[in-house]
């Protein structure tokens, strides 16, 4: 009886050890956003365990640096950030407390996903009188699916640095990701091609990469300046603009309330379309591919 118990206990111990050994073999990756998490999962497959700090329906400029994230960062092999000061308000206090030199800026595990991304709206002069501007350029670059390839390459490089033995595995996944995104990007652009040049209004200046990729024309914003809530005079200006130029679409993000957009749409005879800014914005969007499937189909339905 005693022997049986001991055997059972040891088997249990063995199971725990074996399961923890398979966990050990996985690289621990922390990303700031779910889009980076999705791409990392596609490149790293089952060899990575990826945690995203922000949710897909959260404003990435304003994430609370909760101490619980420090625990994740303290054990991370790789940390992936959007960069360009998008997360300036919350990444620094987390990294400063993480006690993990691998993922500090300059460390082998630190990945600025924006490296080599062709940036848009890089200001030649910067002043906070212009609102929440980003001095390195507009940071919402993941909303162009082809920038996903640059992001994937940056993540691939970091995974190889952390785990060089699996280079061929990561490389195969990278090639597969690039092929898929190329094919899908062709489908998405074809679908929206009939509406190329269509003028639209956006709530916040976060769509220039999406706009450029799909040939849309964002002519104004509900925010008078980036980060400044809509004012009556700005909304009045936009209503007149929509009436004058026959603009029918206002796009907003999941983390902005729709009241001001609804009011403008009612007065200007347009409609409000909520587009997803990140993976996980709603239950349908589980991967980086789903993000564009969803946004393109939402826009297509609204425009036709």
């Amino acid at each position: 009886m005693m022997n049986k118990r001991v055997t059972l206990l040891l088997l249990l111990l063995l199971f725990c050890l074996l399961s923890s050994s398979s966990t050990l073999a996985q690289l621990k990756v922390v990303t700031t956003m779910t889009d980076l998490q999705s791409i990392t999962s596609m490149i790293g497959g089952d060899k990575v365990d990826v945690f995203a700090i922000a949710t897909g329906f959260q404003n990435p400029h304003f994430v609370d640096p909760k101490p619980s994230y420090i625990m994740k960062l303290s054990r991370a092999d790789v940390f992936v950030t959007v960069g360009l000061d998008l997360e300036i308000g919350w990444v620094l206090p987390l990294l400063n407390s993480a006690r993990n030199s691998k993922i500090q800026k300059g460390g082998d595990g630190y990945v600025d996903a924006s490296i080599n991304v062709p940036l848009l709206q890089v200001p030649t002069s910067a002043s906070r009188a212009q609102g929440d501007i980003h001095i390195y350029g507009n940071p919402h670059y993941w909303l162009d699916p082809l920038n996903g390839k640059v992001i994937a390459r940056n993540i691939f490089d970091a995974l190889v640095r952390a785990d060089p033995d699996r280079r061929s595995f990561y490389e195969a996944n990278l090639m597969k990701f690039n092929e898929t995104i190329d094919a899908k990007a062709r489908e998405w652009t074809e679908k929206l091609r009939p509406y190329s040049g269509t003028k639209i209004i956006a709530y916040h200046n976060e769509w220039p990469y999406f706009e450029q990729r799909f040939g849309l024309q964002i002519v104004d914003f509900l925010e008078p300046k980036p980060g400044i809530p809509p004012t009556p005079s700005q909304l009045f200006k936009v209503i007149n603009e929509m009436k004058r130029d026959h603009i029918k679409i206002i796009i907003i993000s999941p983390y902005f309330t729709a009241e001001s957009a609804d009011m403008v749409a009612r007065n200007a005879g347009g409609k409000v379309v909520t587009l997803a800014t990140s993976v996980g914005a709603n239950e349908q969007i589980k991967t980086y591919y789903d993000l564009f499937d969803y946004n393109v189909s939402q826009l297509f339905e609204a425009l036709r």
Partner: protein, 387 residues
């Protein structure tokens, strides 16, 4: 017996395998060699072998700089208080200059100079509030800070006044330490405590000289002050968190003997993730007790408490209320009971306007009430505050 031997051998082999796997993961020299090899391989590969990117060439970036982050924060006030010589007053309460940067791959540094209003003269006086060097890469989840800093005692003491939602610190902080809390010159070590439930638990131990306050003084002899804090943080749901902290401090007091102070802090925060810029609620409370020895036989035992709530009405508007009860560390017979109501308007994160009504009942002096208007304005790259 054989059975045990077999199991032991299996376990030993398993441990060996795990150790070698772990070593493979963490051997930095092997990684460095592999990276070098990769770079060589990559440089020898034809250009077509790398995945093509159908984009324009990346624009060169010219914003690189090794300059430290600089910021300045102003705190301007206007007040009406029912007692005192200057009932109606207008003044610059404080000006802070902050400089911070990574020193090298192993540490970062922070300096904070202030010009603050002297409570006695009303004139602005310079002060060095913070000068620290903090490690970034110590092993075993440790972090070390050296220099002058605000010791980790409770929730309020680590804050600078501009980072606190109310215009003034609670009576408990003011009566037991100073209007800006407690400052220390020394060393602080903090450790992320590993625990089976994997919640955030941080133990901080600090030792050094305390800048004179109502409870503790710098001390004339070799007696140093000690401060300890255990912070426990729990994510209750995606939208709500709970923090429970325990603090302790011991050091020389103005009578030449020592004081011991203990504290408990509890903070509940609710912030819906999706609309976290639009709605939030905070309930924060601290309890403090003090044993101050003033001679061989006399120990004065006193305590204080505050509890505050803050609710965010919209993107820019906040309301709050606070209750304070506080004795004085050297006189258990004196006590303040105070209440405050707050209205705050925050057009951007760089400008905060607040209007606060205060009522203070004193059992040793006249009670008072007042209204204070405060505007905080910041320029430069002031870093975000801790959660």
């Amino acid at each position: 017996m054989n059975f045990y031997r077999i199991i032991s051998i299996i376990l030993a082999l398993l441990c060996l395998a795990l150790t070698s796997a772990g070593a493979q993961q963490t051997d930095s020299s092997a990684v460095a060699d592999s990276i070098l090899l990769l770079q060589l391989q990559r440089s020898m590969q034809p250009a077509a072998a790398t995945p093509t990117i159908q984009q324009a060439q990346a624009a060169p970036r010219s914003t690189l700089s090794t300059n430290p982050d600089l910021s300045a924060i102003g705190d301007f006030r206007s007040s009406y208080i029912s007692v005192g010589k200057r009932k109606l007053d207008v003044y610059l309460n404080e000006l802070e200059f902050q400089v911070s940067s990574v020193v090298d791959p192993y540490a970062r540094a922070e300096f904070l100079f202030s010009y603050g209003k002297d409570l006695l003269t009303g004139e602005l006086a310079p002060d060095l509030e913070i000068a620290t060097l903090t490690s970034l890469s110590l092993p075993y989840q440790l972090q070390l800070t050296l220099g002058k800093f605000k010791p980790t005692f409770g929730k309020i003491n680590i804050l600078h006044p501009h980072a606190f939602s109310f215009v003034d610190f609670p009576k408990l902080t003011e009566n037991y330490f100073s209007p800006e809390g407690m400052f220390m010159e020394g060393a602080s070590a903090s450790w992320l405590v590993p625990n089976p439930c994997d919640f955030f638990q941080e133990l901080s131990l600090e030792v050094g000289r305390i800048e004179q306050n109502a409870s503790l003084v710098r001390g004339e002899n070799s007696q140093l002050a000690f401060v300890a804090h255990l912070k426990n943080f729990f994510d209750l749901t995606q939208n709500s968190t709970l923090e429970l902290g325990f603090s302790g401090a011991n050091g020389p007091n103005q009578s030449g003997f020592s004081s011991t102070i203990g504290g408990v802090d509890l903070t509940y925060k609710w912030k819906p993730v999706q609309y976290n810029t639009l709605q939030s609620f905070t309930w924060q409370s601290e309890f403090l007790f003090s044993n101050m020895r003033s001679d061989e036989e006399t120990v004065t035992k006193t305590h204080g408490i505050y509890s505050l709530v803050e609710y965010q009405l919209g993107q820019r508007w906040f309301v709050g209320a606070r209750y304070d009860y506080s004795q004085y560390p050297d006189d258990g017979g004196r006590r303040d009971i105070a209440g405050a109501a707050l209205l705050r308007f925050q057009p951007t994160e760089f400008q905060i306007l607040a209007l606060e009504y205060q009522y203070t009942d004193r059992n040793y002096d006249r009670s008072s009430q007042g209204i204070i208007f405060r505007i905080i304005f910041g320029i430069g790259s002031h870093a975000a505050h801790q959660y």
